[in-house]
């Protein structure tokens, strides 16, 4: 995708207000905000693909797309209304820059695997609770076994999985053959270092971005 910087990180609160009408923003409801900003501001390049698998609560996603000039800022008005291109779950047919229509959990990673099998560099964002869905593990197992190194899964972990992940999510990915690490999901330097393409990699990568517990 072509990325043109128009607005900065500090402009995001105003964009979010325009989107939702809320003046105050609860950081915990914007768990993905910093990951998305770092991806679009520092990581994704021409021809790269980003799939938002965790499609609920997409305000942060739309705000980042608007800040980057991918979604027109005016499109933020009327979020979720009948003729809006931006709904409570993103639709790639309606919304500019959205590469995957999500909402039902557990779909993005499998599509990301298919995309990455063609050699495309793919980043897919899932939530820790989303990983409750078994379909994710079909994708995680297969990607690990075939060493799908062009795939990066970002797990935004706000500890919202009903029954938790005893022993940690990273260990599960590692057991399946992934390179995995946990970073501070609000720290832009840590996120950038973990998410940057790794041409030397031989395994798919999992980056668990830990944020405040929900």
């Amino acid at each position: 995708m072509a990325i043109t910087t128009t607005l900065g990180y500090d402009d995001l609160p105003a964009l979010l207000t325009r989107l939702t009408g809320d003046v105050k923003h609860d950081r915990s409801s914007l768990s993905t905000l910093d990951v998305l900003w770092v991806l679009y501001d520092r990581v994704l390049g021409e021809g790269d693909r980003f799939l938002l698998s965790k499609g609920h609560g997409p305000a942060a996603f739309y705000a980042v797309l608007a800040a980057k000039g991918i979604v027109p800022v005016e499109a933020l008005d009327g979020f979720g209304s009948f003729d809006s291109r931006l709904g409570y779950h993103p639709d790639r047919v309606l919304a500019p820059g959205v590469e995957f229509s999500s909402g039902s959990l557990g779909h993005g990673l499998a599509v990301g695997v298919g995309s990455a099998l063609t050699g495309r560099r793919v980043w897919c964002l899932v939530g820790d609770a989303e990983l409750d869905e078994g379909s994710n593990w079909e994708a995680i197992q297969y990607a690990g076994r075939v060493g799908l190194s062009s795939l990066t899964a970002i797990v935004v972990d706000n500890d919202s999985s009903e029954h938790g992940w005893p022993g940690g999510l990273e260990r599960r990915f590692m057991l399946e053959g992934w390179a995995a690490l946990r970073v501070d999901g609000r720290d832009h330097e840590q996120l950038e270092a973990a998410l940057r393409p790794d041409p030397e990699g031989t395994r798919p990568r999992c980056v668990v971005a830990e944020v405040e517990a929900r």
Binding site: V93, A110, G112, V113, G114, L117, R120, S135, E138, A139
Partner: protein, 291 residues
């Protein structure tokens, strides 16, 4: 192995070699028959992943073919057909084997007479029910060249001969006002036998979606009785037939596999007879309906 299935594998291998767009995704059914190829991905017994991977390949401009046994290709990952392909507006060619009861001996878990109704419930799918390996070949080759969503249903049952024109074909015209008897896919041979002495217009359909509303109206002409014979869940295309004939007073007999938990093993032939879809069964139904 059924003749249709063998033909499918043959064309899939050829397409992988000749067309760089084509990619095949399997889940341990047909894997060895298709063989190793850089664009043949066997994902193990992971059918949700199979459909997701097909969607991802389509996102990158490939023409994915996904293949498995009918219940595992359509029923188990149905929401993935709906969302990864349909809602994301991505195309794929899904090719099932097993039909309604080819695996009669394997029991209910391997029988899927619901498949066509399930795919037809989703918008925008083309559905082919070939009655002969040559018809399969024609529809599969046409599908590979496109970028839409296509479901092709293979079966062990097949007709004695192929019907050349794809889609809807009138094979025999009855007298003005005669009933229309329409066979879908492999039900043609038993229907022909059952209706051999009857004055009916006999027609054949191998592409059931989109449904040929205008051609059906034309074929019925001044008639008012319609018999629809489908090799899967009875009534799957009854609503399409009603829509085609919305302004015509008509009677419709929709034959197919009953919507029932059918707890028998045995052979496909026995299942066909039990469901009244062999020539004798169809003849009995015609007698009751047409007199």
């Amino acid at each position: 192995m059924s003749a249709m299935r063998e033909r499918f594998y043959e064309i899939a291998r050829e397409a992988l070699d000749e067309d760089e767009r084509v990619a095949v995704v399997t889940a341990q059914i047909g894997t060895e028959s298709i063989g190793e190829h850089p664009r043949h991905f066997d994902v193990g017994i992971r059918e949700q992943l199979m459909i997701g991977v097909a969607a991802g390949l389509a996102l990158e401009g490939r023409r994915p073919v996904a293949h498995s046994y009918t219940p595992f290709l359509v029923e188990r990952p149905w929401e993935f057909l709906k969302l990864d392909l349909g809602h994301n507006d991505l195309g794929a060619v899904l090719v099932s084997t097993g039909a309604s009861y080819d695996a009669a001996r394997s029991g209910r878990t391997h029988q899927a007479p619901e498949d066509v109704a399930l795919v037809a419930a989703l918008p925008g799918w083309t559905i082919h029910v070939p009655g002969h390996p040559d018809e399969l070949e024609a529809s599969f080759r046409r599908s590979l060249a496109g970028d839409d969503r296509v479901y092709i249903r293979l079966s062990e049952e097949e007709n004695h001969a192929r019907v050349d024109a794809g889609g809807f074909t009138v094979l025999r015209r009855g007298a003005p006002g005669a009933a229309l008897a329409l066979a879908v896919g492999p039900t043609l041979t038993p229907l022909l036998e059952a209706a051999v002495d009857r004055d009916v217009t006999l027609a054949y359909l191998s592409t059931v979606r989109p449904f040929p509303h205008d051609a059906v109206r034309e074929a019925l002409g001044e008639g008012s009785a319609v018999v629809l014979v489908e090799p899967y869940l009875s009534g799957t295309s009854a609503s399409e037939m009603s829509a085609a004939l919305v302004d015509r007073p008509h009677r419709l007999l929709a034959l197919g596999v009953p919507n029932a938990e059918f707890r028998h093993y045995g052979t496909g032939r026995e299942h066909r007879a039990a469901h009244g879809l062999d020539a004798a069964g169809i003849a009995r139904s015609l007698q009751r309906f047409l007199g």
